[in-house]
Amino acid sequence: MRHELQLLAVILVITCAEIYYSGKDKSGVVPLSIALFGLHALAGWFPIGEGALFGGMYRTHALIHFLKNVLDLGVLVVVLQTAGWVKKQLVPENRVSEFYLLLWSSLLGMYYMISSGDVLMLFIGLEMSTLPVAALAAYEVLRMRSAEAGIKMILMAGLASAITLMGISLLYGATGTFSLTVLSQKLTGTGLETLGFIFFFAGVAFKISLVPFHFWAPDVYEGAPTGIAGYLSVVSKGAAVFILMILLLGFAPALSGIWIGVLYLLAILTMTIGNLFALRQQNLKRFLAYSSVAQAGFILLGFLSAGQDGRASIIYFVLVYIFSNLAAFGVVHSVEAATGKENMDDYEGFYRVNPRLAMVMLLALFSLAGIPPLAGFFGKFFLFMSAAAGGYYVLLLIAVLNTVISLYYYLLIVRAMFLRKSAHPLPVIQNDYWMRASLLICVAGILVLGVSSGVYDYIFGLCVRL
């Protein structure tokens, strides 16, 4: 519970700051927020005991704690990346503190979601992690695209939560309980339970953006402020993956006969459809959206191994994915902030003008594509190992062939940045320190995570229990 309280404290301090600053220039809120959140993220690493509170509605142990820390890391990077945008855009509009409040309340929702020992808390956490983000997606109130993104997100989120509710109600009807522990003992896999489970699953799948529950994602990513798109694609998705992992592997082994099939099917669909759409994107944000849809498909492979290695591979991949994807979003963000351009053509000749940013982008894309010796390679490799451990070689082959397609479109951007020369290249982009720091963190993660095995070993050790 310490984690949640810390964050709540941060939220409260910012609220106070808002009051303190009212009527004044609020640019001071930005460093304050970043510093506070940095402290919070740092403090999160203090070890914590395991146990349950509120009659089992809240539970925690080392792994859950670690997952929250992973999410913190992602949010920290997002906060750093958005700092410039916040200062430039939100401070004049006087909507700074609210931005952070919304962002962090959604993070708080994720904490509760992951820590929930009960379907009710899970549902509330899910909603709480989604609704503020919908507001954030619509945060650039003056842009039509942002409004459209917000409306699409909130409508789809509403539908998803409604379907989830239907599923929960059916599960409740079948078992009479909301406690996950009890539920896991009572589930037997009857038709009604299957139905309830799949409806429930659709809600989580919506957040992970699995095909066919993914349609909102590209539109929202494209329309939302870039930082929020990064947040959605990484933190929000990561949290949903974590909860799915806890639910399926921890609480629904009785239904594994069903969900393995579901995941098998959706993994194929998600990878393939995501890739096919990503192939022909011009807008980089949209492109990254589809790529992250495809990446979600790969993550599903980690669920197919019943052992510790499967869970470890999922968490590890999400961690790696946070760094890789946020690095890419960071570059897109800084280009967009400086020039307003976000099309692939605009990036032609990028390397010759902004070699460092281009290198960051290159590393990020190669990591996403799974090229050694970057972290993404290891992340994907371990996922593939999980699939192979389960004996799903056909799926594995499809997945690996999909990585080839994905490599194709990642290389398209590399092509634009490195191979092409442009008559009208982008100007030299000067980033602020926050953005640089965030990119540095990401690059360090991309480079170090794979080669040094410590992180993986640590995660593996944590995965003893869910």
Binding site: A138, M166, Y172, G176
Partner: protein, 105 residues
Amino acid sequence: MIPGVSLIEILAVSTLMFFIGVYGFVTRKNLITILMSLELILNGAAINFVAFNKYLYPGEPAGQFFTLFLIAVAAAEVALAIAIVINLYRRIKTVDVDNVDTLKY
């Protein structure tokens, strides 16, 4: 328990309401009516909780509480959604869903 009314009858009502809501959600042309359909869907699910609680597991008011929180969540959602819709209306002077498809492919 309503004397003479079986569980399945209540569930039938809720299920039908749920899917009527889905139908509305998919077919209505106006964002606000879509939100209204969403309310129908949510209420369809809510009735389920209540009915199950009442008919099958009366010992614990878990279903009731769930519905309670559900209503709160729904309220929050609708409030936020309407805010976004109004903002959209400010932008393009319409809340017709057909005009909200500039982001695609």
